[in-house]
Symmetry: C2
Subunit: 398 residues, 2 copies
């Protein structure tokens, strides 16, 4: 079923490109809709294009247990990111329905319209709309690279005009998301399942080092204010400090730019980004504060200037302990090796976590490769995740 | 006269843009030609567009003492780079002629057509043609950014079709070039004149560090092969080693590029340039060898690969000691503060040095700024250079 879903938006490199409201996106949702109906589940959309498959509960006024993930992908992404959580939910609902009939509570699988932000400068549009964090106001004026407006794309795909129910929900008891790890911790440690306790907080900075641009031949070493030399010392310090922490904090310099960028001119300015992540905000705070204090000392030592701009600050998100405990009990009983861990990447689960009890479950990613045609998880690992999801849903809904 | 010459090709920023064979270049050469004739000197071009002003010697079969520099500039360059050496030569010849009449040996001032390479991918075209290092074969097929061929541009300006004498010379006794320092050693040390003993050799490398690109959130610090982290350690090492040398060696990382260059992705590859200069080739050899050995160890330590490609290798050039000695004697006698130094930048003098005895003389550059509208040398400093040139030419030719 992974290959089947990946056929909608298949790229030349055998990856998947399925951007929000695109033709490929529409084909994938419509194909899923058909498949949901075919197995006897109810299918419906909400007005932003989230697709639901519903197994109605027998109890009066029953609340809904929701599971699923996102249908959109990055450009030339993998077959598992997002898609796996939808397929797993669908297969779990079908199995439960076939084996146990209707549950007491409603169970729904959701194919969330968007999470990646790969078409418009907007992320978590699907989960944000359900949880009331995002609304139509947030997408006014947004355009994609082809200058197509968000609203037009939405209308073209048949959404955003009140033909479907409003996306916000008041009936959710909890949300469960099954996802590939996108890291290689589970594979390296030979665990089948990751029980996510937190999604890390992310802090991003832009660091600007200003020295003095000069002739590479006529400026003696002692007189230089070489911004690249200073930047390299800052990067060394940052990464070393991050390596020294035992708390699991990670720090990355992913982007860097010299000015001018000419082989025979001493760089006068260097701008680089820092991405820092940890599951506790205070740890990020303390780490950044200590490192930036040292940055200042280093810049002063070289008679250069350093300025630090914080441009992203996503707080860490705690998942529901009780739901995680339920998975833990099941896995311990079934003797399936698992690991409690934090997620270093963002997921739809983080939008739900402050809205209703939420659980995020990982299966291994081969070599940790993700957002790439080389993304891969073995079938037996995929199956173990689905087994767990079935058992958790059964406990919660029947 | 500096301002007068700078008026041909004046840019919006009050800089000068005078590219080879351009309209501005033609205007400047023609204006100089007129001025040369006006003071009673002979004026002539050679077939690549070098313009000469000649004060003929009275001796039979007299050799020629040549002085001058280049008339072309970089885009939005300064008023002094190149131009000063031509103006100084012109004023020196006029003075000598007025005060002392005809010399025994021929003295010529040359306005060399090109040195900077700012229009075509070709440098030292003027001096290279005189010294026989360059010929028409070297410019076949070259085009500028507007796709104008070198040969067409040359023909349009009236050169390259045999209307003028062939540029190569057999009558040169020596070449003297007066130039701004383009560094701030003379200004900082309060010296009026720099006597250049060598033009440094330049070695340029491209360094490629290959690690492993990975997710900035899901990859623990200990498992990373962060190419930027490794590159920053290499840069730290390189610059520190260069600072430790007491020999005047300089090393610069001027260009650097990450792959991918995305804030939330660990860089898998970093490519950067190294520019190393010194007046002795063995020093560059030993330094590079030692540093690159350490590069390998660092890359190995981080389980990454480093590859090193040498893409430029200009040998150091020694100037004529005897000519330098003559300047030294004059300056010592006149109590003018001077410094023996190496040139960190390339000059026309380096083309002449292996062809005939050559001397390169510097005057201070304010703050070392060059190739910029802010290039500046005080009039009194310019005058001291011309005084010296007059005295040296007198000693050599009268």
């Amino acid at each position: 079923m992974v290959e089947w879903l990946a056929s909608f938006g298949k790229s030349k490199n055998n990856g998947v490109t399925r951007k929000l409201y695109s033709y490929e996106w529409q084909c994938a949702q419509q194909a899923l809709e058909k498949r949901i109906k075919k197995v006897g589940l109810q299918a419906y959309y909400d007005d932003v294009g989230n697709l639901f498959g519903r197994l109605p509960g027998t109890e009066r006024n029953a609340l809904t247990i929701l599971t699923g993930s996102h249908i959109d992908t990055v450009v030339d992404g993998g077959k598992y990111d997002g898609a796996y959580g939808i397929i797993a939910g669908f297969l779990a609902l079908r199995y439960l329905y076939e084996q146990h009939g209707l549950p007491k509570k409603n169970i729904e699988v959701v194919s969330l319209c968007e999470e990646e932000g790969s078409r418009f400068p907007m992320t978590y549009w699907g989960s944000g709309s359900i949880t009331g964090v995002k609304s139509m106001d947030d997408v006014q004026g947004l355009v994609d690279l082809q200058n197509v407006s968000f609203l037009n794309a939405m209308h073209e795909a048949g959404f955003g005009q009140g033909k479907h129910r409003h996306p916000s929900r008041t009936d959710l008891e909890c949300f469960l998301e099954l996802h590939i790890e996108q890291g290689e911790i589970l594979e390296r440690e030979e665990k089948a399942i990751g029980l996510v306790s937190h999604i890390v907080g992310q802090r991003r900075y832009e660091i600007t080092v200003v020295g003095e641009s000069n002739h590479a031949g006529t400026t003696p070493m002692a007189w230089r204010k070489d911004a690249m030399y200073v930047a390299s010392e800052l990067i060394q310090l940052l990464i070393q400090r991050a390596k020294e922490t035992t708390s699991g904090l990670v720090a990355t310099v992913g982007q860097l730019q010299l000015d001018p960028n000419i082989s025979n001119v001493i760089p006068g300015k260097v701008i680089f980004t820092i991405d820092i992540r940890h599951c506790e905000e205070e740890v990020i705070d303390e780490f950044s504060k200590a490192v930036f204090k040292e940055f200042q000392l280093i810049a002063d030592k070289h008679k250069t200037d350093v300025s630090i701009r914080n441009w992203m600050n996503e707080k860490p998100i705690k998942m529901c302990e009780k739901l995680m405990g339920l998975s833990e009990t099941i896995l311990t009983r079934d003797k399936v090796p698992f690991k409690k861990m934090v997620s270093g990447a963002g997921h739809d689960a983080q939008m739900f976590a402050s809205f209703c009890p939420t659980s995020l479950l990982f299966v291994p990613s081969h070599k940790g490769i993700s957002h790439s045609p080389y993304e891969f998880t073995r079938t037996e690992d995929l199956e173990k995740g689905i087994q767990l999801l079935i058992k958790v849903l059964y406990e919660l809904a029947y």
